[in-house]
Amino acid sequence: MPSYKHLIFGALILGAISVSYPAAAPCAPVPDSVTLNQSGKQFKPFSFNHAKHIQLIRECSDCHHHTTGTLVLDPNCARCHQNSSATAVVSCKGCHSATPFSPETIAAKAAQKQSYHLDMMGLKGAMHHNCIGCHSKRGAGPVGCQDCHPRSKQGDAFYSAARKGAKPAHAKEH
């Protein structure tokens, strides 16, 4: 059971970004490469080629939505953020919580019921939606789980991978 807790913990901080930005720097250094899924247990950490994505896409806000690059375009966001400037923190984890459903996060949400952005995705969800969403839309880039992060031995056991191809008899059970 303890190892499983680690797995969950690892999964929660999947996508944690290795590069730490200087706190008050007006212009953060742009990393060429970022190690994602650093504490992943079921799936191994992997290197995300930031430089290649910058070359390919050229528009920062495609991924970093309203925090850098071309600012707010979405009419729904523009209602409030028309004149918002670029934010100091642009890394995903700066806003998207690695533990979106922990008792602490839920208590914090309950304390600020007026906030509009209560339904903000956690880090893991945000990264998967951002990466896979764009890859499928453009028909380019990996979309399968192990295309980005290969599975560890622990992960194989977790998904009972050894039993692949055995009889799928679930439907007959009652």
Partner: protein
């Protein structure tokens, strides 16, 4: 006091007490769930059918190894339902739809007024203040009324043990997680955040807000908000829920409302009828005796 007067008084008194109680039961309004109850919002438009939730549930609840790997997508060929070995299953619907298939996770929906709990005559089920419907195998006698009562066909029966067969279903990870405020294992593992854990009341607002903000993405209904009196698990879908495996014929009334009147009668029948009929029997005997004998005055009173 004469014996017949005593009997009469007993009957009238007993009837008043029992009927009074029963009427109160009938009049009670619907229970809308504990105020701080937690829940899970399932956004089926986000689900990719990876079955990670099934794997997480299997490990968290210490269930037996599955028949086939959790990577195996061939399980989608036939719709499945939760069993004693798999408290949650993901099914695939709308396989050939232009927007791609729709995946839907199924498990116990943790009703506000659970039919399983209502149907259980040994009180094996409890709706906890955190929102989970949990089950006590120690008192269960294995009658399986709960399996028949459940409007979602959820509880599974474990036939493995001959001496102690037990009913098994999702308990919202109550023992290991929910009790201490942590989300169930399936929510933690979901890569797409198709599952959102939070206070049920907040999740309902969140679900309606998602529909409002992106109306093209959703069918305008939150399944589980009102069905059978409301459930802790809530669902969003892009199409009519009927098309993605939901029972849309269920009423908003909790199942208990269908049987409340009948159940309210049970104590009355059980407690009053024996006393009533034995009373009538005794009185008629007494009357016969009186008619044969002396006390004509009070016999007239009785008539």
């Amino acid at each position: 006091m004469k014996r017949r007067n005593f009997l009469k008084a007993c009957l009238i008194g007993g009837a008043t007490i029992t009927l009074g109680k029963t009427n109160k039961g009938w009049a009670s309004g619907s229970f809308e769930g504990y105020p701080d109850a937690m829940g899970v919002l399932v956004d089926t438009t986000r689900c990719i059918g990876c079955r990670s939730c099934e794997a997480a549930c299997n490990k968290e609840q210490g269930l037996p190894e599955p028949d086939t790997s959790f990577d195996d997508k061939s399980v989608f060929e036939e719709p499945r339902r939760p069993t004693a070995k798999a408290y949650t299953v993901v099914n695939e619907y709308e396989k050939k739809a232009p927007g791609g298939p729709v995946y839907r996770k199924m498990q116990c929906n943790h009703c506000n007024e659970p039919a399983c709990l209502t149907s259980c005559f040994v009180n094996a089920y409890t709706k906890t203040k955190e929102g989970a419907v949990i089950y006590n195998s120690k008192v269960c006698v294995g009658c399986r009324n709960c399996m028949i009562a459940c409007p979602f066909n959820v509880p599974g029966y474990d036939y493995e043990s001959v001496t102690n067969p037990i009913v098994k279903k999702c308990i919202l990870c109550y023992d290991t997680r929910l009790k201490v405020g942590r989300p169930p294992a399936c929510v933690d593992i979901c890569p797409q955040e198709a599952l959102t854990f939070g206070h049920r009341a907040d999740l309902i607002k969140m679900a309606h807000e998602r529909i409002r903000a992106t109306p093209d993405r959703y069918y305008d209904h939150v399944y589980g908000e009102k069905e059978v009196g409301g459930t802790s698990w809530l669902y969003l879908a892009r199409t009519d829920f009927e098309k993605v495996g939901f029972d849309t014929t269920l009423n908003n009334e909790p199942i208990i409302s269908n049987v409340k009147e009948f159940l309210g009668m049970v104590p009355m029948v059980l407690s009053i009828w024996p006393a009533l009929f034995s009373g009538i029997h005794l009185l008629s005997k007494k009357e016969q005796h009186d008619e044969e004998g002396h006390d004509t005055e009070s016999t007239q009173e009785d008539r």
